[in-house]
Structure formats: structure tokens, C-alpha cells
Symmetry: C2
Subunit: 301 residues, 2 copies
């Protein structure tokens, strides 16, 4: 494989993504703030890039997978950052979930140095990262997308070039997070109502799966609610951050997002109660609290 | 087929459901307030019951498919109603969508005369009624469910006995309508945000279909939003009624339903504008109005 890949950010998502690139046969140089995951990747045949700058010097395409915009700005544009080790013609692919406006800013600075950028946030969670089945939503020039596509195919399955504008991938991700969060809230209200009305929520979920109410969320998060399994998965904390991004994008473009704002507040309430490390299906806990059944399992008839 | 069936209420749903019972070989006696659909069913081999009472006299199992609780009470319990023509051992199956409490009231009156009842509301719309692929959510005693099951199988596919309590089917239907309405709102916000942020909502929908955001609503109602096809389908007017039922059930059981209440208000806003005969995917019109793009198609990049 021709392109040498740099990978910065070996967290719960980045680590398995980088491992999948190694498995696909790519030369990979890695960096992470804490050293443990670096050792793991080195054991899998990756090089230790030692810093964002070092990773950029050792690679043709640099991937970043970081918590939020401040980390992306620091790692790419900050002192000792990717930009210091990068060369014209290089490609920087940020797969973090950050504000579309932040993606555009970073891409513009890079373009000033002759470096192309893509924003390519993902959906599918840790399981999708491990299995190499992530959905990848990509914004940026078509030529850059074509160049990065084989790499995306080593990490994901549903790979969509959303648009040529930098930040287009982030807009799609924000839309994704809106739909997921609001649908979880819908399922939480539906199953809680059923339980409190003396009806078995398991049967209700089963009945709803067959019709228009059917969704991946009803299937998986609905099942989690019934099992009281709130081990993440995807954390309340992160989904709250992502809805914050969606609301900021809405404000920037003049789109009031009533349902999104409501669920953002619900996630904030869970965070205020110290529940921000629950899986986001824990939204049902808020609905139950409001109904005076905190922690109780919705009962059958 | 042994059981003779009575069918009252030959509207957009009831007419194809009664036709499917005829096609399955059942003897069917029908009644409807307006006479046109009666003639159509008679042409298909049904008997004209002439009144709810007459239908009850001519059948073993009476099905009602009516707009709301007042019509169900009148047709079953009112003067000239089913109860006047019914005999002990008969079964009344109300497939209308009404409040769970109303289902329980009607069932209790019938039980006092030795007549068993089921509530069996459906999901799947006119298309599901025509194709015989409705989801049917049934509340009431197991023996009555077993008796009615072959009849349900002539009209639907996903047939679930939700619980032995009268009204359990209605609770499941309320849960269904919550999930459908709130998910439509989620998709409407997501696609409107994408369009206003300069991103092609068609691509966004495509990307979201592959991941956790995937749902029947995103698939079908999302497509309607993109095509600006608001021909019902299922009307704003009826979904507003159904969310009213859900909110009343929530109030009765002490479950605040924040997202449901929000979307109920949105449907009310559309109704206030004279848009209550749009398909419920028309919720996107509200979101666009709020964003100052009434009637405009979300534009691409």
C-alpha cells in the first residue's frame, strides 16, 4: 500500500480504527497523549511518531480522532502540531466530531500551507470501530475524498461523500446525532408510558418493531432500556456535546431546533445528576424520574 | 369459515380491511354512515347490515373501525347500537384508535351483557390496510385473542397480544404514535438543518440510513420531505388526535411526556394554519417556517 498513514488520538474509537488500518496492511505512525495505547499499536507493527509533528513527518495522510475542537486545533495547528511537520500535497483527515465551523477554520489554515483537509466524522460507536463497520460522513474536495476512500474502507462500510464544502461531514454528523438523541427520547417516553399504564413494555417494543415506529434505536436502545443496561455504548456526556454542536450550527444558520434543544436539556439534567457516563439510552432514567419512578423498572400489567 | 363477521366503519382503513376479510372467505355484514362504501362491499359479496344493531344480529364477531371514542360509544352502546343486537358469547373487536380508558369502559359495559371485547388498534396506514400487512396491537383476554386471531391474520401481519387488560392494545398504539411523531420531528430538524447549512439533505439521509439513525421514518417520511410530497398517508389531524390520547394517558398515569407534548403543539400549529390534511411528514413545514423558509425546499451546497 502506497500511502503512509499517521494516526493521532488512540482513544476508545481511535485505537481500533488504527488497528484496522494496520490489519489492512498500511504503514501507520501513531501518537497519543497517554502512552499505553501507543505501546499497543507499536506491538501491532505501528511506528511511534512521538508527537503530532513527528507523525506528520512520517506520513502522507494524517488522521486525527480527538474529543473536541480545542484538541483538534491544538494537535493540528498548535506548537509541535501536525502543521509543523506537514508538507504541501499532504492530506489531513479529521475524523473527530466537532463544529462544522471549526472544521472549516482548520481546513483554511491548512490550505494556506498547501495541505488539503477532509472532515470525516463517524457513526457506529466502539463496536463499529472494532468491526470496521463505521458510517463515515465526509466533507471536502472530491479529489481528496477519492484519495482517502481506500483508507475509509479499511475502517467503515457506509462511506458517503456529503459535499465538497469543508464541514459538510460535520453537518451530516450533527444531523445524525439529532435523529439518534430525539429518537431515544421518543422510545423512552413510549416505553415508560406503557410500563406505567400497566402494559408490558417488552411486548410493546415487539409490536412497534414491525411498523412505522421501527428503528435501530427501538431495537437496540429500546432493548437496553428494558434490560436496564446503561453501560456505554455512547455516553450521555458525548451526546450532550454533540447536540451542543447541532444547536450552535442551528443558531449559526437560523434554524430553531425545538426537539433537539429539549433533549439537550434532558442530557444536561442527567449530567447535573452525575449520570453523564451512562449510555445515552439512560435518557429513559430522566423520563422515569419525571414520572416519579427513578430507578424502578417499568412494571408489567 | 365458521365465524360470521360484522364490520362497522368503512372509511379509508375499514373499507380495505373488510374487503380483505371477504377475500379470505369470511361471511361479512357491513354498516357505514354514508352508503357509498356499503354498496362497494355488497358488490364484493358482503351483506348490508343496515345498522350497527343489524350487523350485530347477523354476525358472531363484530369489528368496529371508527374515528374516535364518541363514535365508538355511540355505535356500540348507543340507541340502535351493537349492544341491542348482540348475544352473550359474541365478541366485539374495536380496531379504532381511542383512549385506553374508553376501551376499558366499553368493554365493561359489554361484559355486563356477557359479551367479550378486544381493543385491537392498527398501524401501517392505508397501504397496510390494502395490502393486509397491518400491525395489530391487541388488548383483552387470551381466549378472545385466540378466537379473533385468524381474522386478524386476514388483515395484518405483525399481530401482538399486548396484554390481558382491556385497553392494553390502545396503550401500545399510543406508544407507537409517540415514537412515529417524535421521530418525524427529529428527521425534520436534521434535514432542515442540513439544507440550511448548505449541505444536500439527500446525501445526509443516505448517510444516516446506514447507522444508528436508520429507521422506517427516515426512509419513508424523510423521502417525502425531500420530495415535498405531503399527500397523505396519515394526516396531521389524526396524528394530533392520537398524541392527545397519549398525553391524556400520560396524565392519567403520572408520566410527563415532554417530547410528545412538543410535537403535539407542532401538529396543533399546523392545524391552526389549515394544514391538518397534510401528511404528518409535513411537520418539516413547521420546522422550515420557524427557520424562515416556509415552503422553500432546503437547498444544496
Amino acid at each position: 500500500m502506497g500511502e503512509r498513514i499517521g494516526f493521532i488520538g488512540l482513544g476508545i474509537m481511535g485505537r481500533p480504527m488504527a488497528l484496522n488500518l494496520r490489519r489492512a496492511g498500511y504503514a501507520v505512525a501513531v501518537h497519543n497523549r497517554s502512552r499505553g495505547p501507543v505501546a499497543e499499536l507499536v506491538a501491532a507493527g505501528a511506528a511511534d511518531g512521538r508527537s503530532p509533528r513527528g507523525v506528520a513527518e512520517a506520513s502522507d495522510i494524517v488522521i486525527t480522532m480527538l474529543p473536541d475542537a480545542p484538541e483538534v486545533r491544538e494537535v493540528i495547528l498548535g506548537p509541535g502540531g501536525v502543521i509543523e511537520g506537514a508538507r504541501p500535497g499532504q492530506l489531513v483527515v479529521d475524523m473527530s466530531t466537532i463544529a462544522p465551523s471549526a472544521s472549516r477554520e482548520v481546513a483554511e489554515v491548512l490550505r494556506g500551507r498547501g495541505i488539503e483537509a477532509l472532515d470525516a466524522p463517524v457513526s457506529g460507536g466502539q463496536k463499529g470501530a472494532v468491526d470496521g463497520t463505521l458510517s463515515i460522513m465526509v466533507g471536502g474536495p472530491a479529489a481528496a475524498f477519492a484519495r482517502a476512500r481506500p483508507i475509509f474502507q479499511a475502517m467503515g462500510k457506509n462511506i458517503v461523500h456529503i459535499g465538497e464544502t469543508h464541514g459538510a461531514g460535520q453537518v451530516a454528523k450533527a444531523a445524525n446525532q439529532i435523529v439518534v438523541a430525539v429518537t431515544i427520547m421518543a422510545v423512552a417516553e413510549a416505553l415508560t408510558l406503557a410500563g406505567r399504564a400497566g402494559v408490558d413494555p417488552t411486548r410493546v417494543r415487539e409490536a412497534l418493531m414491525g411498523g412505522f415506529a421501527g428503528s435501530r434505536i427501538l431495537e437496540q436502545h429500546g432493548q437496553r432500556m428494558l434490560e436496564r443496561n446503561f453501560v456505554p455504548g455512547f455516553r450521555v456526556r458525548l451526546h450532550r456535546k454533540d447536540l451542543g454542536i447541532a444547536l450552535a450550527a442551528g443558531a449559526a444558520h437560523g434554524v430553531p431546533l425545538f426537539a433537539t434543544a429539549l433533549v439537550h436539556q434532558v442530557l444536561g439534567a442527567l449530567a447535573a445528576q452525575g449520570l453523564e457516563d451512562l449510555d445515552h439510552s439512560g435518557i429513559v432514567r430522566f423520563v422515569e424520574q419525571a414520572a416519579g419512578t427513578d430507578g424502578a423498572r417499568p412494571t408489567g400489567a
